[in-house]
């Protein structure tokens, strides 16, 4: 974990209404593991106090790339950060994705720009498998070519049918699960909306295979001190306990998670 004064190298629009932010952050870029995140202090954003967590899209040498969509006040303010500007980062934070057990066939399941958060994992995994990606429309589908270049087979589903199969990402996932060879044991890695993660967890439970879910929670300090980003998980004695998404997560095994209505 480092507190690093990074600088903006590149910041531009990418298709689908996303922004690509490339930072020079040598210490964090060389240390980050797939599934970890950085906590970023948005420049020129005095109105609100807290840092904002971002999953890492790419890390190459001293460069760290984040992919985001301006959806709230913080990310709208971040849009204006210019090349050369300093940006304070804390990272890498949290527990990322573990490697699959030997012999397991990796599945990636992503909703929207959850795909970007799985890129480092897709590059690092020793085995190439199947990536399922879903979104509302074609503009939500990211990184398909990058994943294919890494050797992954990508199945796309969109709710409006403008790219790939019409419907939710669980459509092609269920079809594959139903037709896979009996000796093909999956291990899944998922990042996306709460409902999608829950749907993956239900399938993992039914099929008795592991699924690693990257949970998204409103976050405060990012290091485990403030207890804002708590998630109910199953305790050893069968009851529940809180886990800090920033410290014990953001990645949890699906059977650990106690599912409730989205907070």
């Amino acid at each position: 974990m480092y507190l690093e004064d990074a600088s903006v190298v590149e910041h531009r629009d990418v298709p689908g209404g996303y922004r690509l932010l490339v930072l020079c952050a040598p210490r964090i870029a060389s240390a980050v593991r797939p599934g970890q995140f950085v906590h970023l202090r948005i420049p020129h954003f005095q109105h609100a106090l807290l840092r904002r967590p971002f999953s890492v899209f790419r890390a190459d040498g001293d460069r760290l790339a984040l992919l985001y969509k301006a959806v709230g006040e913080g990310t709208r303010a971040l849009r204006d950060a210019r090349a050369g500007e300093p940006v304070s980062l804390i990272g890498p934070l949290g527990r990322g994705f573990p490697a699959p057990a030997p012999g397991r066939f990796p599945l990636l399941v992503a909703g929207g720009y959850g795909m970007a958060a799985l890129y480092l994992l897709a590059r690092a995994l020793p085995v190439r498998g199947l990536a399922f990606v879903g979104g509302r429309g074609a503009e939500d589908i990211l990184c398909v070519e990058e994943f294919e270049q890494l050797g992954w087979t990508v199945a796309v589903a969109t709710e409006d049918g403008t790219r790939g199969r019409r419907g939710l990402v669980t459509g092609p996932l269920d079809e594959w699960l139903a037709t896979r060879a009996a000796d093909c044991l999956p291990e899944a890695y998922a990042c996306g909306p709460h409902a999608m993660l829950r749907a993956v967890a239900e399938r993992a439970r039914a099929g008795n295979w592991p699924a690693w879910l990257s949970m998204d929670r409103h976050m405060g300090c990012g290091v485990g001190a403030c207890l804002t980003c708590v998630q109910k998980i199953t305790a050893a004695d069968g009851t529940w306990e809180w886990a800090r998404v920033c410290r014990e997560g953001p990645v949890f095994e699906s059977r650990q998670v106690v599912w409730e209505a989205e907070p």
Partner: protein, 314 residues
């Protein structure tokens, strides 16, 4: 040959402060609830350079706290209702006290209970464990029903809690006061009568934020406590009120995000300060505050930080 006075001025200023028996290398502490139990920030902050660390509230038994959402941002503020989630005193001693054995910085533990007896029990247990420099008695949490309403606003209960803690331990007792706009000085005098060694204020201010689209509160607990720069002038005024009402040293807390803010509290009458919400944004802000106070003292040719305390020219 230089005069003795000139020689004294050239020496680095003395930042040492004494807080009811706790000797601190500088007047900057971390506020309870904003710095975890110590290890959380240890990779980013050299804890040895802090005046003291006040860890998050500890009760006799583990407590789960409030449902999410637990915090939300408001203009220049942070509204929270964590609900005093904590591992209980035995969990704290098992999981965190060993970490502190290797650290020379005074460890101050914020304590609370649901009954008078619980306050006394946790105080006695912490003293028996050793390694704790002092206790901060939390009678002012806005986010549990037993907190401010039961112990912090009722004079009889306030007195009974403090008397029980005083009887249970010889550790320095810092009493954390609520931001009571009309009676803070009264409670401060009461705490002094009950044997408090120091006072700390202010705790967060009861507050409410609403999502108007859904008409729902923005916190799971409905209401919360407001902290951050938004509350600083209120806190400075209450410190000024309280510091003039009692002989006890006062720890100023409320929206400190740098040396200039800390200096306001010292000039208003605080002996020490605690950095709270700002830790979440910049974990090194407490250390930068120490450096900034040192620079200020040198620039104003003050030999000792104590010369600043209560030096308001009003």
């Amino acid at each position: 040959m230089t005069s003795p006075a000139a020689g004294a001025a050239a020496r680095p200023p003395d930042l040492t402060v004494r807080l009811g028996g706790i000797v601190m290398r500088n007047p900057v502490m971390t506020a309870s609830g904003t710095f975890g139990y110590g290890p959380e920030y240890a990779e980013l902050v050299d804890l040895h350079q802090l005046g003291a660390v006040v860890v998050k509230g500890i009760s006799p038994q583990p407590v789960a706290g409030n449902p999410p959402p637990r915090t939300c941002e408001t203009p220049s503020g942070l509204l929270n209702a964590i609900g005093l989630q904590n591992p209980g005193v035995e969990g704290f001693l098992r999981d965190y006290l060993p970490f502190w054995r290797a650290c020379r910085t005074p460890l101050i533990v914020n304590i609370w209970g649901r009954t008078v007896e619980e306050y006394a029990a946790v105080a006695a247990r912490l003293e028996a464990a050793g390694g704790v420099a002092g206790l901060e008695v939390n009678v002012s949490c806005p986010n549990i029903k037993e907190g401010r309403a039961l112990f912090g606003a009722d004079r009889d209960m306030f007195r009974r809690v403090l008397a029980a803690v005083r009887a249970a331990t010889r550790l320095p007792m810092i009493v954390k006061l609520a931001p009571d706009l009309s009676a803070a000085a009264d409670f401060a005098r009461l705490a002094e009568e009950c044997g408090a060694d120091a006072l700390s204020l202010i705790n967060s201010i009861p507050a409410l934020a609403i999502d108007v689209e859904t008409r729902r509160p923005r916190l799971g607990n409905v209401t919360g406590g407001l902290s951050g720069p938004a509350i600083r002038p209120i806190a400075v005024k209450l410190v000024w009120d309280v510091a003039r009402a009692v002989r006890l040293p006062v720890v100023g807390i409320g929206g400190i995000a740098g040396a200039a803010d800390a200096l306001e509290f010292l000039i208003a009458g605080a002996t020490a300060v605690a950095v709270g919400t700002a830790n979440f944004i910049d974990p090194r802000v407490a250390l930068e505050t120490v450096g900034g106070i040192r620079d200020y003292l040198a620039r104003h040719r003050l030999a000792n930080v104590a010369e600043l305390t209560g030096s308001l020219r009003a």
